[in-house]
């Protein structure tokens, strides 16, 4: 049980670091990143067109 919780904290920690990094980016980079991340799920399908 303790072992499982440790992994949960590690994952949450990584997500927190990513969130802090994104929040520290200038507004222009956040806009671009937000747009680009929304395109990523389509990339595999686009490759087959």
């Amino acid at each position: 049980m303790k072992h499982n919780l440790l992994w949960l904290w590690i994952v949450l920690g990584i997500l927190a670091v990513i969130a802090i990094v994104i929040l520290c980016l200038p507004k222009s980079k956040r806009r671009f990143l937000s747009y680009f991340l929304r395109q990523v799920p389509s990339l595999i399908a686009r490759y087959f067109v």
Partner: protein
Amino acid sequence: MTQYDAVIIGAGLGGLTTGAVLAKRGKKVLVLEQSGQIGGCCTTYEVGKYKYDIGASVVEMLPIIDGVFAELGTTFEKEVDLIQCDPIYSVIFPDNSRLTIPMSVEGAADEIGKISPEDRKGFLEYAKTFEAFIEGNGLDFFTMPMNTLGDFMGAFKKIPVLAKFNKYFFMTYGDVLNKFFKSPKIKQSMAYQSFYSGHSPEQAVGIFAIIPYMEHKGIYYPRGGMIKIPQAIQRLGEKSGLEVRVNAEVVKVIVDDSRRAKGVVLKNGEKIEAKVVVSNINARKLYIDLVGEENLPSIVKTGIKSYNLSKSTPYICLGVDYDPPLDAHHTLVTRDVEEINAFWWEKYRKGYLPTPQEQFGLICCPTKADPSLAPKGHHIVALDFQGPFKLAGQTWDDVKEEFSESLVSYLSERIIPGLKDHVQDMTVSTPLDFERRLLNPGGAFYCFQQDLSAQAVFRPASKSKAIKGLYLAGASTHPGGGVPTVMASGVIAANQIVQYE
């Protein structure tokens, strides 16, 4: 029934180029155009006394176009009477001050230095950087097929300079401006050109920052109008037996049980058989409407529907009976770069139609280069400003007149004195008009978005992966929209047909 080696849908520059190159190589080819005129987004219409280009307004990146004409056994300069435009463009800043950029790099650096001495050096460094890309044959990237990851990796192997410039594929256009320039005014003077790739500086791929530099290699206007380019391609093709039919709208691509294209059906019911079908239309319209979803694997349906349509624009052509105070063929009306980016993300993409005071864009005065487009003493002023296809809460038919008149009034008061009082003819094409005229969804000039997520292998392949015997040319496929690039796509398609069929 005549059977063709290839039938081509759309007599835009890409389709005509594929047709002419295939005909030159001995193929029997038919090009079908739904409208009454060839050229697509690179064409010229006669309206009363004036000849208006509606779409492309200049040509640059000549090495690519020269390569196309070489495929046809001739040269661009021999087939089209080209007028060099120098100065290459003028800029009008929000405070109404102006900057005119000559073709010479040194001359441009001097003009930039008058506004920002430190950016003189930055400009020379910028020019040196992108000159290295050209000298390293980096433009060859735009003339190679890009259907698979293998093609993509192969390009990096064949063109070593690409590896040196790979960071520019992961930067934005705005990042490149920030890298070389300090003055907000100088950044403004080169920001608008990102829209030549269809995006704001913050969204366009960094490598497109080569565009302002390419203009220093020469920009040209074809005497008689932009239509002279597609007409030259058609003429050369016809010498080799190419057939071109206008007013022939294709409504279906015939696909057999083995998912192979066998020909097309016209709106009047006529069937035309061919060994291969080439599409020069928007690839979404091709796959969803003409091929039919029933003939597509589900991943292809998902992929083709995932693209955002590229930007369109309202285009106002004015015939005027005076010499407008403009310094160059192209005049850029700019704003602060951050204002342009904020407008793009927060307003344009949400259907907001800007007021004249919020506008930025391009003014083209082609009669400065070619007076033959208008009667003596008259000029043409074309306004290419911002306005999305989908307007929030209204349609272009509702606002067309008010939008045009208020913009002309504003420009007349602020930027081109006397304009409003000298208008003899005003011909307006809204994004909705472009959709109707070109049968192109959204009136999208470049068909799809041209950011990193829809380029090269992520753009619809020129050799269809879903339908055998189906090939793509034009803005929908690599290397995307623009006069030289769609012509390059035409050669890429022709080469692949010869290789695989």
